[in-house]
């Protein structure tokens, strides 16, 4: 069977479109691995225009090996970028096509095409085990359909729709399909979301095909029609139907069927991007927390991550703060950061898991990257490294600040930056704090310094699709954690901007869209295209 994956709902689910799932934690399959407009904005505003363009890959295959015993293969494709060190980074993956040796996948993979750079791509095709064994009672043959003519739709059982865009070469590329409605002659499918990027223009003709689902993969065409998005909108307003057609045995002619397509709902909605929010006055507020536990090593020892070099060269934490600070202060509106340390023994002899790095008892904010660096130097000379490593308290403190801000300013989104060597003691308490914080306008960036085992950080990142769960059974509403190991940044694989902002815009948008919070209108009235 090759590499096996679970096929959710046996291939009957809807695919493609611009699906928004605000309450489900994002997984690796965002299929937009090459693009991040927040990173573009950073570079472009610094006068560096990106030398790349977005490419959308449509994938199909033919003559695949038949690896299943009782049925054909169930293929899917995973697209990787091959890095300098030979490692593969997943850029996206398709849906599973049931029982097909010649699949045409609907899901698209977006790649950032960079000029003058060799970008090796690796495509892996997998046969996926199907969990679906329900076979429609009757398999219609083409001859029978021709004989039955207008009565064809009466015999359909498990219909679904597929929408395709006509391309310049004359063929068509599928852009989405509905879920399968079981045993229904008058199906009502769930809503599909399409973006202008997918259909090109409201007047572009789309091919809409209605199939009878067959687990063997040979879906029987019930009927089809050609309509543009503007046509569908008109159908909705007029509350009229459009007849499906079926290609007849005579060349060039099409038989008009009795079956009809209706548009029950048509809703045009403007989807705002991360930059729309930032441009209209929404603010990112960053907070910094630094690990002062003994696992970092004695600051007087050269192999310590907190080493105080007499020559003035920066240690691992200082380099991380300097590089990360340049990015975060660009997005922060007032450039004032709460700066905490955790895991150190403060002047009064107690171990604190959330102390102000500037040594002040009241004010915890510092100004700019320089403020962070001087507060850090101050703490290093006044705090003894101790332990254990607890994230829970700094996360709860940040969550309280984010929660209180909701009362007086809905424009703020908070980002807590934790710089640590990654050896964590309170994994469950950290999970509990993160689950509670997932309901708030807050994200957590964990920057890992040094070469320790970061497996606990990967658990918190939750990119494997497993949602974080608290000890009481509450589950994280959305993924708010991103882990950035600095050794990957320093090895040149990715830039610090890309690493830090990889997930943050998506986390921000998930929060805003689920609560229907919109950017403020600019002076020019936005055109609702």
């Amino acid at each position: 069977m090759g590499n096996c994956f679970s096929d959710m709902e046996g291939g009957k689910q809807a695919v493609g479109g611009a699906q928004q799932r605000p309450t489900i934690a994002s997984d690796n399959n965002n299929n937009n691995g090459g693009h991040n407009d927040a990173v573009d904005f950073f570079y472009k505003s610094h006068g560096l225009h990106p030398l790349f363009t977005q490419m959308e890959l449509s994938l199909s295959a033919s003559k695949l090996l038949d690896r299943d015993i009782t049925s054909k293969s169930d293929p899917m494709v995973v697209v990787y970028a091959k890095k300098i060190d030979g490692k593969l980074e997943e850029l996206g993956r398709t849906e599973v096509v049931l029982n097909s040796l010649n699949p045409a996948w609907i899901e698209k993979v977006t790649v950032a095409f960079q000029f003058e750079i060799v970008q090796p791509l690796v495509f892996h095709v997998y046969d996926v085990d199907t969990k679906y064994h329900n076979v429609p009672v009757k398999t219609l043959k083409l001859k029978d359909q021709e004989f039955l003519g207008e009565a064809t739709c009466v015999l359909s059982e498990d219909p679904f729709l597929r929408i395709s865009r006509i391309v310049e070469s004359g063929g068509s590329v599928p852009i989405c399909k509905t879920e399968v409605v079981n045993n229904n002659l008058n199906p009502i499918w769930k809503p599909l979301c399409l973006s202008v990027q997918q259909f090109g223009s409201k007047d572009n003709p789309l091919i809409i095909e209605c199939f009878d689902f067959n687990s063997s993969g040979n879906h029987v065409l019930i009927g089809k029609l050609q309509k543009s998005v503007a046509d569908l909108e008109k159908l909705h307003k007029d509350r009229s139907g459009a007849n499906l057609t079926f290609p007849s045995s005579h060349q060039g002619h099409e038989k008009v069927l009795k079956g009809q397509l209706f548009v029950d709902q048509f809703c045009e909605k403007q989807q705002y991007s991360f930059l729309d929010y930032i441009s209209s006055g929404f603010e990112l507020n960053f907070m910094v927390a630094v690990d002062f536990t003994a696992s970092n090593g004695n600051p007087r020892s050269p192999d310590s991550l907190h080493y105080i070099d007499p020559s003035g060269r920066m240690n691992s934490y200082q380099r991380a703060m300097m590089e990360v600070g340049e990015v975060i202060q660009f997005y922060d509106s007032d450039r004032r950061f709460p700066a905490w340390g955790f895991g150190g023994r403060t002047g009064d002899g107690t171990i604190s898991h959330c102390f102000n790095m500037n040594g002040s008892a009241g004010a915890f904010e510092v100004e700019g990257v320089e403020g962070i660096m001087s507060a850090y130097a101050n703490a290093l000379h006044n705090v003894a490294l101790a332990g254990p490593t607890l994230f829970g308290q700094v996360i709860n403190t940040a969550a309280e600040i984010a929660g209180q801000s909701i009362s007086y300013n809905r424009n703020k989104y908070f980002v807590l930056l934790i710089i640590t060597d990654g050896v964590l003691t309170d994994l469950q308490e950290t999970k509990d704090a993160l689950v509670r914080a997932s309901d708030l306008p807050l994200s957590i960036l964990i920057v890992g310094v040094g070469g320790a085992d970061f497996s606990q950080m990967e658990v918190l990142d939750a990119d494997n699709g497993r949602r974080l769960e608290s000890s009481t059974g509450r589950v994280a509403t959305r993924d708010i954690v991103q882990f950035v190991p600095m050794r990957e940044v320093h090895s040149g694989q990715i830039s610090v901007v890309q690493a830090l902002l990889e997930e943050l815009p998506g986390q921000f948008l998930t929060y805003m869209r689920s609560r229907d919070i919109k950017p403020h209108p600019l002076h020019v009235a936005p055109t609702s295209a």
């Binding site: 937009n32 904005f41 505003s45 989807q271 007032d334 909701i406 309901d439 609560r515």
Partner: protein, 180 residues
Amino acid sequence: MESMSRTVEITVISGEDLRNNRKPIKKNAFVVIRTDSQNSCKTDMDTEGGSYPAWKQKLVVDIPMHAQFITLEVQCKTSMGDKTVGTARIPVSDFVGGYIPDNYLHFLSYRLRDYSGERNGIVNISARVKVPEYASCSRTEVGVPFGVGVPLGVGVPLGGRNFGGIVTGIPVLSNYPRNY
């Protein structure tokens, strides 16, 4: 009595990976919310969603002031009657009190447990406390768009950002491609 309970709008959004004796349920899932042993309300049945049902239904629930938990049950209708698929015990403190404003729209998710205590799927809801009329007039509703002329919160405009004393204007690229 008004002061003896609070009204909460709970939208039951969806369920994930619901099973009955380890097999994914096929259809007819619905949700029952209990505030105490006598009072409960329930959603419509999702006849097509299978083990990933979507209800998106708002229920208005009165919760006694002294209540610390409410119970959410996912049930499914079978030929032998209604069967409880999983139960979640929801602390009232998850959406009431604390440092978050009262009328905040909470999005919450919970692990369901079956009759023997085994983990069984996830339920996603949103919850908002209905603030009495006299109090809601004095505060801004979450998610209600402001008019153009209404003064917004204190914030430094993006174009007027101050870098070390020098005011730097950052051009806003109005034609920047939108890929979301």
